[in-house]
């Protein structure tokens, strides 16, 4: 469809590869096996809260971790759209995918693109085998949305770098193997210029991981104190001074995926299970229909970004748009479910029951529109993107 007035923010046509249908069926069969095993429990926000290294390894055995990495590095050499099919199936099922999530989504592609041949040979096969889990070390206490203000320093030593500073909200740093850390290597006038990325071994001397408990009491995040951590030269990721460029280059991957609208999808499934007990009211039907239409429409936009990424472009504006729409829906879904089937949220109810899932989704809900770039900042990217196209 190509109207003569071009759409201000274009999304390409979505054509899933022939292999996608078979792949989807294979993932569903795998999920059925895992359900029987008791590992897939239909939980909300499973890409943050569902850490299960055994599940990640079994998934990797199927070739579904790091699947877009080339086969010469242990990957499956498949496209972004095929990866999309796999991860949307996993998230919709509420499968525990958080152990390998960052390795699969960011660390793998980033090392492939910016890493040395040695880094690729060392890390990528391990990532694809589900044996090497990464965290992201970007935010700091005083650097949230304004990421370029990071103050963690990397000072030159004879054979590498010494890192000093504290990274905040580092998910999984207490259970994962490595973190990709953004640090200042030069005091350049342009504050975007003096940043570099490092691969930091989270078990290295001088790394102290301090838990930060979520308001639910869960331990997912940490403060990672880097107290003079020696990082060898070989662990600089990409070019010195290119950190900002590398970080912003990943944003479209980070912001547009199905994890930006499916975090509370398992709660909608739970609602439908409840509604099957008795004839639904008109209002319940209306709201379920409206939510479903919105999910479907956002999924189409998200797939459009995946198609653009597959074609090699960098649709940052579109990705910001998907994230704002999708993460707002994650919250709206939770509120709507509560309102059309009044249920007191109960964190102590039997796990997996509707009141417990509602409690879990609610306690996680403020995070949806914060992580991966606060939505207020993203909206600035969207309007700027549109004005530039005029």
């Amino acid at each position: 469809m190509s109207p003569s007035t071009p759409s201000p923010i274009a999304f390409p046509d979505i054509v899933l590869p022939e292999s996608a249908r078979r792949l989807r069926a294979e993932v569903r069969a795998f999920l059925d096996e895992e359900r029987a095993r008791g590992t897939v429990l239909g939980r909300p926000d499973s890409w943050l809260a569902g850490w299960d290294d055994g599940f990640s390894r079994r998934l990797a055995e199927r070739g579904w971790v790091g699947m877009a990495l080339p086969t010469e590095y242990g990957g499956a050499g498949r496209g972004f759209l095929e990866r999309y099919v796999v991860i949307e199936e996993l998230l919709a099922a509420g499968a525990p995918v958080s152990a390998h999530w960052v390795s699969d989504r960011q660390a793998g592609p980033s090392i492939l693109q910016h890493g040395t041949e040695e880094q690729r040979r060392f890390f990528l096969p391990e990532i694809a085998a589900g044996q090497c889990f990464f965290s992201i070390g970007m935010s700091e206490k005083s650097s949230g949305s304004d990421l370029a203000s990071v103050s963690t320093r990397a000072q030159r030593t004879t054979d590498g770098w010494r890192l000093t500073g504290t990274k905040m909200w580092t998910g999984g740093a207490h259970v994962n193997d490595y973190a990709i850390v953004l640090a200042r290597t030069d005091d350049a006038e342009d504050r975007h210029a003096g940043l570099s990325q490092f691969i930091v071994d989270l078990r290295a001397p001088g790394v102290r991981v301090e838990p930060i408990h979520l308001m639910s009491g869960e331990h997912r995040f940490n403060a990672v104190h880097l107290e003079g951590v020696d990082v060898p030269d070989g662990m600089l990721l990409g070019q010195q001074g290119d950190g900002w460029k590398q970080v912003t280059g990943e944003l479209a991957f980070e912001r547009s995926g199905p994890e930006r609208y499916l975090s509370t999808f398992p709660l909608l499934i739970s609602l439908l299970r409840e509604l099957e007990q008795r004839p639904p009211t008109a209002e319940q039907l209306t709201q379920v229909g409206v939510l479903t239409a919105r999910l479907h429409s956002i999924r189409r936009l998200s797939l459009g970004v995946a198609a653009a990424l597959d074609a090699g472009s960098a649709p940052d504006t579109q990705a910001a748009l998907v994230k704002d729409l999708g993460t707002r829906l994650e919250g709206t879904l939770t509120d709507t479910v509560r309102s059309i089937l009044p249920t007191p949220a109960d964190p102590h109810a039997t796990p997996g029951t509707h009141p417990e899932l509602l409690a879990f989704a609610l306690l996680h809900s403020p995070g949806y529109t914060l992580r991966g770039g606060t939505n207020e900042i993203l909206r600035g990217i969207i309007t700027r993107g549109l004005e530039q196209r005029r």
Binding site: F11, A20, G289, V290, E376
Partner: protein, 355 residues
């Protein structure tokens, strides 16, 4: 044709600031847009255009607030006539789907002979009742009616001059006319027995055509709003430099993109039919209708006072959105159709049917 000046005769905005032909619909304006020779016209797409091309044309018509039943003709009436095996008349067409009519065979003794889809010995109908709020009836060369006869669903055509027409309009003053048939004999040559599926396809076609119009009008709201906030200066800087404005404008852009995506998603399924067509079209119209509130709210708020007047073209889009969201099924109707077959186990497979 109406020109646009204030009482003093001094134009407040230049006459060419927007296309006044789309302001008030009249016969000339309709002729302009349905005539391919007009330089700035959105022509009726040719008959063999694909559904995706027709939807793009409808979106364009919605964007320009074209004063003619372009989407109604190209996406609804013509395909239905072809599917029923009736000739397709030239010019703008309209439709009425499942109106409340009393239909009997003009010659009852002969009626049982015809079989579904075929012309019986005498399928002439005697039709009584009112077709309500028919889009552009006064300008249509024919109106396609899908209704239920004693034998089952039928499709027939009539011309507006065969009925008593009571003019009416929607919020954008697009013609929505009542046609009183009291009673009217429809000769067998203009009648076809149809399958219940075609009756349902008609609903889907009408809903998707309307959704495409909504997508275009929503996009117009984006274009006008961004142009306005970029050009308009207050407190020494363009409105678009204010964070509060950016936040709202981004939501507007997002909502319009959402509608476009939903319409786009239904193009291929409409051709193949079946459950995928039901789901994607119901989702498209639910989303399009539901988004109209947010789109119009933000566009008007960011336009300020000028937007609520006819000095500015915004109303061309927003008044249409307020009417189109109700026409051919509002979001409640389509949300119900969408939700009714959904179960806990069916939801995800349904969402991933396409692609």
């Amino acid at each position: 044709m109406n020109t646009h000046t204030i009482d003093t005769g001094t134009p407040v905005i230049p006459a060419d600031a927007y296309d006044t032909t789309v302001f008030y619909a009249d016969a000339d304006a309709i002729a302009t847009v349905t005539n391919t020779t007009a330089p700035d016209a959105v022509a009726l797409p040719c008959q063999d255009a694909s559904t995706a091309e027709l939807l793009a044309a409808a979106q364009e018509a919605g964007h320009r607030a074209v004063p003619a039943p372009l989407a109604e003709t190209a996406l609804v009436a013509r395909p239905l006539l072809r599917r029923a095996g009736l000739p397709v008349p030239d010019g703008p067409l309209s439709y009425a789907i499942a109106p409340e009519l009393t239909i009997r065979y003009a010659h009852p003794a002969a009626s049982p002979v015809g079989s579904a889809g075929c012309l019986g010995h005498d399928d002439s109908l005697l039709v009584t009742g009112t077709l309500r709020r028919v889009p552009w009836a006064r300008a249509a060369t024919a109106v396609v009616v899908l209704a239920t006869a004693p034998s089952g669903p039928v499709l027939f055509t009539l011309t507006p001059d065969q009925a008593i027409l009571t003019p009416g309009g929607n919020l954008a003053e697009e013609p929505r006319d009542d046609l009183h048939l009291a009673p009217l004999e429809i000769p067998a040559a203009q009648v076809r027995r149809i399958s219940p599926e075609l009756l349902d396809e008609a609903r889907l076609r009408a809903a998707l055509a309307r959704s495409a119009l909504i997508a275009g009008a929503a996009e117009r709201c984006v274009d006008l709003t961004v142009a306005h906030t970029t050009a308009r200066t207050q407190f020494g800087r363009p409105l678009s430099r204010f964070q509060a404005v950016k936040q709202e404008e981004a939501r507007l852009i997002e909502e319009a993109a959402l509608v476009r995506a939903a319409v786009h998603a239904a193009a291929a399924p409409l051709d193949t039919g079946g459950a995928a067509a039901h789901f994607t079209v119901a989702a498209a119209k639910t989303q399009a209708s539901a988004s109209a509130a947010e789109v119009t709210r933000i566009a008007h708020q960011l336009h300020g006072a000028i937007g609520i007047t006819r000095l500015n073209p915004l109303h061309l889009a927003t008044t249409r959105l307020w009417s189109w969201r109700d026409e051919d099924g509002d979001e409640t109707y389509w949300a119900h159709r969408l939700a009714r077959p959904l179960t806990a186990t069916a939801l995800w497979p349904t969402l991933t049917t396409t692609p």
